[in-house]
């Protein structure tokens, strides 16, 4: 039933496919569609490579080795998760484009004729997305590496493999579910982004959907275009399932030793420290520093401070409340979904889950449109029913209310909550469940006393990720936020689109700082679940 709630907007969208607007497709195919598809594939490939390399590589560095700063980098490398991609996008653009400080300085040193790469390109978009999204893979990989028992690792070493060989032949494959889950999240986020790619003049399909909708004012064609997304998403999800494989990944005997950390010496230790510093610097320190300096510049103007005082706190409170509510609802629903799938492993259950998590693959704007249609229909039905039965007109109950926006968030981010809860649940062995059932526990009791304590980590992680995602979310918010319910992300984007960097910096910085809180929570949660840590 939960799946049904979530699936309805998606189904409505698919239903539109039955009435395709032919000539729009013809025009699109002959002009921009091939380019958009090509760009989307390029983007996904680039982002997959960068996030996998950075995420797993850095996670291995901090898990298996000790070097100067490794303890700090352990948690610091997740921080870029708090920076929305569009904020990273405009910071990079403002810093590295022709008129920006970096190129201006380089021209001053080396002369005006030097050829510098153009940040406003597909390469720029891929780079920025890779830097913002690698923490998804990093976090999950790190957790996976931590949980691997040292006995298998020692066995491999005893057989003569070097640490590096062991990494590639043993550690990585064992961590496959986590890696695949992380890369999938990153890919889906990159695919559905439209705000960031716009800064880089890089036309992907999600930008195309918005373009057809707004520029050509053809909502139906836009919805059909987004049906293409469904196919891409299906492809990614199927790929994910294939890559995860059918094998089970739980390791019996939870209190085992972790993989031992080796202290690096010589050039290796400095190389490791330098790599981590470079990534952390470009992915977090650079945008943070630019935002801080712009904010300081903005606040030095007294008139601005006056206006801001009244306006700013309202934005913060609203954004916070909205994100927290959505996170709680999403995780509860994900729990029900995951539990249902576990108990009923039939085709139907699995299919329902697939459909329910499909929302992540659709652009927020499209989900919002679907949600809007659903809600408007519900409202109209309720209104006419109430009028004919009771003679009263209750007005708009759901349209224009928070419920609509929360509904869209849940549809959109169910996948995040579900992946977290499910991968945590996957580690619970069937033995425990069966043992509890043999002892006479009802399914509810099993859930409460056995599963919940074990997966509360996954739930907390899921809630934290959804919180951060909702705070950063843009297109659905723009469409569905009720009157006066504007969020920080809307404010940031409006200002950044007008190139008012200094004004956009304050709300951006707020999103980043507030987003750090759940990221830190993720960190503590991650530390708590390592074997040998306090449980």
């Amino acid at each position: 039933m939960v799946a049904a709630l979530v699936v309805v907007p998606v189904v409505l969208l698919v239903a539109r496919l039955l009435h395709p607007t032919g000539e729009v497709w013809a025009q699109l195919w002959s002009t921009i569609l091939p380019e958009m598809i090509r760009n989307t594939l390029l983007l996904m490939l680039g982002v997959a490579v960068i996030t996998l390399a950075l995420g797993s590589g850095l996670a291995w560095l901090v898990t298996a080795y000790r070097f100067p700063g490794s303890r700090v980098f352990d948690w610091a490398l997740i921080l870029p998760l708090a920076v929305p991609t569009y904020v990273m996008g405009f910071v990079y653009m403002a810093t590295f484009d022709f008129a920006g400080p970096v190129q201006t300085t380089l021209r001053a040193w080396f002369g005006a004729d030097i050829a510098l790469p153009n940040i406003r390109s597909g390469g720029g978009a891929i780079l920025v997305m890779g830097l913002t999204l690698y923490p998804y893979v990093y976090f999950l990989a790190r957790a996976a590496f931590r949980e691997q028992s040292s006995s298998t690792f020692d066995a491999a070493r005893a057989m003569g493999y070097t640490r590096l060989q062991t990494f590639f032949k043993l550690v990585l494959p064992l961590a496959r579910p986590s890696l695949v889950a992380g890369v999938t999240l990153a890919l889906l986020e990159a695919m559905t982004d439209f705000a960031t790619v716009r800064f880089f003049n890089f036309r992907t399909m999600s930008e195309g959907v918005v373009h057809v909708w707004q520029g050509m004012m053809n909502r139906d064609a836009a919805i059909e275009l987004s049906a293409l997304f469904l196919f891409f998403a299906l492809a990614i999800v199927i790929l994910e399932r294939l890559l995860r494989g059918r094998s089970r990944y739980y390791q019996p005997g939870r209190r085992t030793r972790q993989i031992p950390r080796v202290k690096l010496v010589g050039w290796r230790k400095w190389a490791a420290a330098a790599t981590c510093t470079a990534i952390f610097g470009t992915a977090f320190l650079l945008p943070a520093a630019r935002l801080v300096s712009w904010t300081v510049g903005d606040l030095s103007n007294a008139a601005t401070v006056n206006v801001l005082k009244t306006v700013y706190l309202g934005y913060v409170f609203r954004t916070f409340a909205l994100a927290a509510t959505a996170a709680v609802i999403a995780v509860l629903l994900a729990l029900i979904l995951a539990q249902g799938t576990r108990m009923n492993r039939g085709r139907f259950g699995l299919a329902a889950t697939r459909l329910a998590t499909m929302g992540y693959a659709l652009p927020g704007a499209v989900i919002a449109a679907g949600a809007l249609i659903t809600i408007a229909t519900i409202d109209r039905t309720v209104m006419s029913a109430s009028e004919s039965l009771f003679g009263i007109n209750p007005g708009l109950l759901l349209t224009g209310s928070i419920a609509g926006l929360l509904y869209a968030y849940v549809v959109r981010f169910m996948a995040v909550a579900y992946n977290s809860v499910e991968s945590s649940m996957e580690k619970v062995t069937p033995n425990m469940e069966e043992a509890a059932r043999t002892l006479g526990a009802t399914p509810a009791r099993v859930m409460w006393r056995v599963h919940l304590p074990l997966i509360k980590v996954g739930m907390a992680a899921g809630a934290a990720l959804v919180f951060v995602d909702v705070m950063k979310e843009l297109p659905a918010t723009i469409l569905l936020a009720p009157f006066g319910m504007e969020t920080l992300s809307m404010w940031t984007y409006m200002l950044a689109a007008e190139s008012l960097w200094e004004s956009a910096a304050l709300p951006s910085l707020t999103i980043v700082i507030v987003g750090l809180i759940p990221v830190m929570l993720l960190m503590r949660v991650g530390r708590m679940t390592t074997p040998g840590g306090n449980q």
Binding site: Q27, F98, A99, R120, M216, R219, V307, L333, G395
Partner: protein
């Protein structure tokens, strides 16, 4: 199941909230609610001035034009919005065409706003004007060589232009004006000419101007007030603007405007607000007025523009009727796609 309880609790909660809001709305001081696509310029002090004078509170919800139009359509008769403020004539026409705006008869508005800046059916009224013209770097460009939009198709500008991408509504309206003036075939030729010059596409007028100043390109097309803003912050900013097509049909002019929604609950308040915004106080050329706060040109012929933009010189506008912007917008987008304009 737990979620069912949650859902019904939600329904109860939103019903409760709705009732509270509905009841409080009746008891509160007078109010006017606006859906606005205009998000820059400090409008708050201006609205505060209106509230002080009339006692009517102004509440604004911001958003992107198409998102707001979509909301207005979905909300229909139940909409909260009393007025719709858009920064592009196309948006206003779209709203009017969809029946989202109502006709307003007002002697004050007829006096304050020239006829060509009002909808023929009085569904929307322009409140400020913006000109999209050619910016250039004086040392590197001779203005007489780029006095028209069409002149930018000349091969000597290859690699020297910075243009705004087709996704932006300002570009779409400009191309719409080319279609209205030349017909679709010739307009496509012109856009293909621009594309052949391999322009740098930058999705920000301010950035285009800054890139021209830094030497990344020599000329570009931008809205006049972005240059005004840069000059206000730095009077020595080197880029200059010329008014295009002055010997021909006139330079491309767009407007910010407002209309009363068809289902407005506070219709009279909305009309009062529009009349105030069109009067000498609302139209002031300095920071206290609507046009002045963004360095745009006023619509009221009795009000002078801000000195910075007055310094750009007098201009004649392309007399294209406001309705045409919206009518040709979709065609303009398709044309740009065919021509390969990014």
């Amino acid at each position: 199941m737990a979620y069912l309880r949650l859902a019904s609790r939600y329904r109860a909660a939103s019903l409760a909230v709705f009732l509270t809001v509905a009841c409080s709305g009746a008891a509160d001081s007078p109010v006017v609610n606006i859906y606005s696509t205009r998000h820059y310029g400090a409008m708050e002090p201006m609205y505060a001035g209106f509230t002080t004078e009339t006692g009517i509170e102004v509440r604004v919800s911001h958003g992107n034009m198409h998102a707001l139009l979509e909301r207005l359509r979905a909300e229909g008769e139940q909409t909260v919005a009393d007025a719709f403020f858009a920064v592009d004539a196309g948006g206003l026409w779209l709203a009017a065409n969809d029946g989202l705006l109502q006709s307003v008869e007002s002697a004050v508005l007829e006096q304050n706003i020239p006829e060509n800046l009002r909808d023929p059916e009085n569904r929307f009224f322009a409140l400020s004007q913006r000109v999209r013209s050619i910016a250039y770097m004086p040392g590197r460009v001779d203005p007489s060589e780029i006095s028209t939009y069409e002149a930018l198709t000349d091969g000597k500008w290859r690699g020297r232009l910075c243009l705004r991408p087709s996704t932006n509504v300002y570009t779409q309206s400009l191309v719409a004006s080319l279609i209205a003036a030349h017909g679709e075939a010739r307009a496509e030729e012109i856009v293909r000419g621009w594309v052949a010059n391999e322009p740098e596409y930058i999705d920000s007028d301010t950035r285009i101007l800054e890139t021209i100043a830094a030497g990344g390109c020599d000329a570009g097309i931008t809205n006049h007030y972005y240059l005004g803003r840069l000059l206000k912050a730095n009077p020595d900013f080197p880029v200059k603007m010329l008014w295009a097509n002055q010997d021909g049909r006139g330079v491309h002019r767009n407007v910010s405007g407002i209309g009363v929604t068809a289902a407005a609950a506070h219709r009279e308040n909305a009309i009062k607000l529009i009349e105030w915004l069109s009067g000498p106080v609302g139209q002031a050329g300095d920071d206290s007025g609507l046009p002045g706060s963004n360095l745009e040109f006023p619509v009221n012929p009795d009000v002078d523009p801000h000195p910075i933009i007055a310094g750009f010189g007098p201009w004649t506008a392309d007399p294209m009727p406001l309705a045409e912007y919206g009518r040709y917008q979709a065609d303009a987008v398709r044309l740009m796609e065919r021509a390969g304009y990014r």
